[in-house]
Symmetry: C2
């Protein structure tokens, strides 16, 4: 199957300052984005795909640092469920990110990096910047907005706060608010970063030191939550690795990575630091923790969807314990209460939260079917 | 209800060197322990209570550092489920620990602290040291061994490796082997400690610096796994704290602990460093990760119990996702296959893994009933 041909990343300066939920105003915002496929003459075939916590605009194009295929390359391309021979697909790095959109590593008005002077942003602020991008692209109404995890939060927020801008809203493995446990895991990650002396209060840019150890621990802790217990058992169980000295699968009676799962996690942590900025991790996790769509709308989730004219599809995975099916069901109940048309499916997949990124043929069918309706 | 009157901690030098699973031999081992109640003339009323990962010998006596009641004060005392007016209860700090038993902070033969020269120990090594203590106390056969979490692992290991030494074996919220997910969470904690520059390769004793930040992050990550998602939601939900400036429950749009769950976790992390040695945390988590009772016995868990003449009781909690009921069921199936008498109950309690330490009246009844049989 052909892969998607992306336009190279474009950095678009927004026309207007971005008024944030915090009350602050961010001037001179840049949004880095990629597009796939061709915008129809009537501009009616655009699909926006907001990314998850550690994603970026490299939706289906090789990542410039890791060289790996884009994070949703299996979903987006010609003939794929999000079919780029039919749709014009847009993916933008979130505000607060580190792949070209304005974030903590960007220059503040005084020329120095914002670092922790960057304003705390929210999911709605991310959506505001993407709607501003749609304005620049002349797209009044999306065929669909499609997102998994934090991408799903943005999809829901767009539906709630910009009714009329999307005809279809697809949220996968997501939630309308962050639970206490979700916040707790993020707080561990933030504390791990801030405990690293190389963090230097966030002022590490240009210092020659970056808080890689802290960021790596944060990523390790988070990564466990993306997988299911059964998935980890299937993939690694208690299998030992072969030792550097050639001995096969023996315990070292030391603190090397004896178990394959230890080695895997360490690799996940370390490789993450090559492509992600620790301060962006702080800001984006904070945005997720602040997310509570009901709270934004008078404490009642159904209110969030009162003005919508979109059709919705909500998908959860049975092994996802980070955003379990009960969270999706709350969204569906609110949509029902708001009389919005909604399809809801819980898919069975062994990969936990990460199922939305992995090989789940039933997911492909549901996504393709919903977008084709 | 009267509380238990403990004998002050006694430090007992073991008569023999301790031969470890690693092949190393530890000389001059000290075991710090407390006892409650009176040993009967026939020495038949002794109950051994091995502690969990961060426990110690202060089972039902105030902790000398924190001043808090002993970790199982609600279970152990006159008239309590483990009734010290009837039983002689022994609780010993594990080898590798930091409350008086020989561990990484202890002096090696050269007079300097072992630090990372301390040998990696196993759950079976912990049990060996406790059996050696029982020998010194002249206790040939325990009325019971009772443990939760890692204490339960020790109880099972004692039953398997020292058949005949306990008439009753009670394992609560425990497992016969550490899963990939269990190992993964421990590895995050170890990496957090070792990433702290104050850890200094473990050689921090006497340096004036201790890896408190790393240990605190390790404790925070672990603490989440001790609680249930629903328990965290009930206890904290998304409630905000009042701000130091007096404003009530408002988001700071910063990185202070806005949510009560953040503040709680930070407190858990920081206060833990007052009473626990980071190197002990490394060694004890390693012992837990290495634990696989089936592997020790030819790969078949039933073999571990082939020689036992004890009665068993296995208790799990429905909200414990760290050592879920399925792990207890595996133990019970193995005991069935070994034709050992076993009672098994899954209790409903909202507190997750920590249920074994908290107010669960049904647990009290099962423990008291089993010990009284």
């Amino acid at each position: 199957m052909a892969s998607a041909r992306a336009q190279p990343t474009t950095c678009m300066a927004l026309a207007e300052p971005l008024a944030l939920d915090s009350g602050q105003v961010l001037h001179g915002v840049t949004v880095a984005y990629e597009t796939y496929g061709t915008l129809a003459a009537d501009r009616g075939n655009a699909i926006l795909v907001p990314h998850a916590l550690t994603g970026d605009q490299h939706l289906a194009s090789p990542h410039p640092i890791t060289g790996k295929p884009g994070w949703w390359h299996r979903m987006v391309g010609p003939g794929k469920p999000i079919d780029t021979s039919r749709f014009f697909v847009i993916c933008a790095n979130v505000v607060g990110g580190c792949m070209g959109s304005t974030g903590p590593a960007s220059a503040a008005p005084d020329g120095a990096p914002f670092a922790m002077r960057f304003p705390v942003i929210t999911i709605r602020d991310m959506v505001r910047s993407q709607v501003a991008l749609l304005d620049r692209l002349g797209i009044a109404r999306l065929h669909a907005v499609v997102g998994g995890s934090m991408g799903g939060m943005q999809a829901l927020s767009l539906a709630a706060n910009f009714p009329g801008r999307a005809a279809r809203v697809l949220g996968i493995a997501t939630s309308a608010r962050h639970s206490a446990q979700n916040i707790a895991f993020h707080e561990v990650g933030r504390q791990a970063i801030m405990a690293d002396p190389a963090w230097q209060g966030g002022e590490y840019y240009g210092s020659g030191r970056t808080p890689d150890k802290g960021l790596s621990v944060a990523r390790m802790a988070a990564h466990i939550t993306y997988l299911s217990e059964a998935g980890l058992t299937d993939k690694f169980g208690r299998r030992l690795q072969d030792r550097p000295d050639g001995s096969k699968g023996a315990k070292s009676f030391g603190f090397d990575a004896d178990f394959q799962v230890e080695s895997y996690l360490r690799h996940q942590g370390i490789s993450f630091t090559d492509r992600f900025d620790a301060n962006s991790y702080l800001y984006i996790t904070r945005a997720m923790d602040y997310f509570d769509l009901a709270e934004e709308h008078g404490g009642r989730l159904a209110n969030a969807f009162a003005g919508t004219d979109a059709r919705f599809c909500v998908i959860s995975f049975d092994t996802d314990w980070l955003y379990p099916t009960s969270e999706s069901r709350s969204i569906v109940h609110a949509l029902n209460a708001a009389a919005a048309p909604v399809s809801f499916v819980e898919l069975s997949a062994p990969f936990g939260h990460d199922s939305f990124l992995l090989d789940v043929p039933a997911l492909d069918r549901v996504v393709a079917g919903f977008l084709g309706q």
